[in-house]
């Protein structure tokens, strides 16, 4: 370099050096690996994830280790405030509230998971079919979506809940039939957009059929936003289940859920607000964790927030 003003290397911004040296041994980071690397940056989401895992684990572990169970009555020890023997106190039949809360939370979690799974399957399938094939297929599915959207969910839940409420499976199916909508709409919209992408055209030019295009080219690019939506759907399911059970249309005794516990506790609101606050707190904590988790996933799955190779 003769010109003193010109550096012999173009200066680079620290952290943004990209090296493509020939023959350099670079192990490729797969897409999921990169996503995980980005997710790790999101502290709140990590905390939420850990809390959620611990919570759910405790719902199963604590009742299994305890000598108490959720249903045996013990009238002499009824209406107790928290103590060592009964950390959450007892109810009006002397049943241990901690075990009841954990057993109830187990049911809430089971419903949330079933609803998340069912609505993902329904939403992804219908959304994919509508978005990929368009035309009358889309018209039919879109009208179903609009129908579910315009009818107030709570009314359907109340009406159908009275007739079919009760078993955990029935409630799950009922809730899934309502909450798959956002997943279906997202998948449909993304299919509409992605099927015009040049890489889909390229696959067509290579001779790929609709199944290969949907499964190999479009779905993997849709799953990110869907994953985010699943966390929100699971949260919604927990809240809706509690609502239903609180109204007496959900889980029926002797089974309990967080919603029935709140319902049980409402009569002693003045004397022992903890009977509502504790199960309510679990609901809030789980939904909050799910939402934070969703936030973290949203950021992690956004490829524009790409992080430089370490």
């Amino acid at each position: 370099m003769t010109d003193p003003l010109l550096p012999d290397r173009i200066p680079t911004i620290p952290g943004f050096e990209v090296s493509f040296a020939e023959g350099m041994d670079v192990t490729a980071r797969s897409y999921s690996r990169q996503t995980w690397d980005r997710f790790r940056q999101h502290k709140l989401a990590i905390i939420a994830f850990v809390v959620l895992v611990l919570l759910v684990a405790s719902f199963w572990i604590v009742p299994a280790l305890s000598s108490l169970d959720a249903t045996s009555r013990n009238i002499p020890e009824r209406q107790q405030t928290p103590s060592l023997k009964h950390p959450f106190g007892t109810d009006e039949l002397g049943r241990d509230l901690m075990i009841r809360t954990f057993e109830g939370a187990k049911i809430s979690v089971r419903i949330a998971l079933t609803v998340a799974l069912l609505s993902t399957v329904i939403g992804t399938f219908l959304g994919a079919v509508a978005g990929y094939f368009g035309k009358w297929v889309d018209a039919v599915i879109s009208q179903i979506i609009n129908l579910v959207l315009v009818v107030p969910g709570i009314v359907i839940l109340l009406v159908v809940g009275i007739k079919y409420g009760g078993s955990v499976n029935q409630i799950s199916v009922l809730l899934a039939a309502l909450v798959w909508i956002p997943i279906g709409r997202i998948v449909r919209g993304m299919f509409f957009q992605l099927k015009e992408q040049e890489y889909v055209q390229a696959a067509k030019a290579a001779g790929a059929g609709p199944r290969r295009i949907i499964v190999r080219h479009i779905l993997p690019n849709v799953m990110g936003p869907v994953l985010v939506q699943i966390t929100l759907v699971a949260g919604t399911a927990i809240i809706l289940e509690s609502t239903l059970s609180f109204l007496g249309l959900g889980v029926v005794p002797p089974a309990t859920s967080l919603g029935t516990l709140i319902d049980d506790g409402k009569s002693s609101l003045d004397t022992r607000p903890s009977r509502i606050l504790v199960p309510g707190g679990f609901v809030v904590l789980m939904v909050l964790c799910l939402n934070f988790l969703g936030d973290g996933l949203r950021d992690a799955l956004d490829p524009t927030s790409r992080k430089v190779r370490e």
């Binding site: 040049e198 890489y199 055209q201 390229a202 290579a206």
Partner: protein
């Protein structure tokens, strides 16, 4: 250029219906491609030039039936592919391939490069190991390291990605490749590399190219013949040199005048012909010659009568009522008229 053309297209038409209202009735048609006929010979590069929205991309995709043409005929080596069954079409896709314009959108971000290039092979029945070894060959052919196969598209630059797209198009050993503005998304320095690569590959594999571009300077280097497209129709088809030296259509003249010259003195004295107005909407094409709304030479006949493609010199076809003779310039002719 000997014998029968590899690919011959006759009166190809693609119209997109415009639907409106509650009942989705068809209210109009966007005439993207209106009766294009062309021939592509073995080992030849035919350039197709036209401004944005003239239908060149639609033409390219219609030829591969990625967009189903409305009517017309596409004959590949004597076989009418407009009538090919779905199964036969799949086989034909091995022969006819495409490279897309956008090197970022044309590679699936979720697939490693090895799978992207190997996919056409896998679809047509190659085993994983066969596909992998062919992929390594292809990476080498387009000047990338075999190690790059494990990486994902976002780890590459635009030029490298376009090489990957080219490798994918080559995978099935095609005879015809539609290059849909393969370099217009690249930097000028990278464009040259990509063009040279395409040139080398053409002679190595005896490929025929249909090279779609929007500016004449890029096509000049690679094309044997060039056709100029305006609003869904070809207006002039001729040998490369004839087009640059003896352009006959007023539209070709104006396109050529827009090519910058790499000489500041000449560039300053260059007389550009700036066309008036925008390209008309393909949903509402002008009657008569489609170019008459912007042509400085248009007269009454141009406004009413559709000009047919006619041969003004051997291998030089023009669709114009008032072709410009060698030696005349559009600027002077227009000045004389007004």
């Amino acid at each position: 250029m000997t014998g029968l053309p590899v690919l011959s297209i006759d009166s190809l038409v693609k119209e997109f219906p415009v639907r409106a209202g509650l009942l989705r009735r068809t209210v109009a048609h966007v005439k993207a491609v209106s009766g294009v006929s062309l021939e592509l010979h073995e080992g030849e590069t035919l350039g197709i030039v036209g401004e944005s929205g003239c239908g060149k991309t639609t033409l390219g995709r219609s030829i591969l039936r990625l967009i189903e043409p409305t009517s017309g005929s596409i004959v590949y080596k004597g076989e009418e592919i407009m009538q090919a069954s779905r199964r036969r079409m799949r086989e034909l896709r091995q022969e006819l391939q495409i490279v897309f314009q956008d090197p970022f959108a044309s590679l699936n971000p979720r697939m490693p490069v090895r799978d992207i290039i190997g996919e056409p092979l896998r679809i047509h029945g190659a085993s994983k190991s066969q596909a992998d070894s062919r992929t390594n060959e292809l990476l080498d052919a387009v000047g990338l390291l075999a190690d790059y196969g494990n990486r994902y598209p976002h780890e590459f630059s635009g030029g490298q990605r376009q090489r990957i797209g080219i490798a994918r198009a080559l995978a099935l050993r095609p005879t015809v490749i539609v290059l849909d503005e393969p370099v217009s998304a690249l930097d000028v320095s990278v464009q040259a590399q990509a063009i040279n690569l395409l040139d080398d590959l053409q002679s190595e594999f005896n490929l025929s190219y249909l090279f779609i571009a929007h500016d004449l300077s890029v096509v000049r280097h690679i094309s044997d013949r060039i056709s100029v497209m305006y609003l869904g129709q070809l207006v002039e088809v001729t040998d490369r040199d004839a087009l640059y030296e003896r352009p006959a259509h007023p539209y070709t003249h104006s396109l050529l005048s827009a090519v910058p010259v790499a000489d500041p003195i000449k560039e300053r004295s260059r007389r550009r012909i700036v066309l008036q107005g925008d390209i008309p909407s393909p949903a509402d094409v002008p009657p008569g010659c489609r170019f008459h709304t912007r042509c400085p030479l248009a007269d009454e006949r141009c406004r009413t009568e559709i000009p047919l493609m006619q041969e003004i010199a051997p291998g030089h076809q023009v669709a114009c009522h008032r072709p410009i003779a060698p030696g005349e310039t559009l600027v002077e002719l227009a000045a004389a008229l007004s």
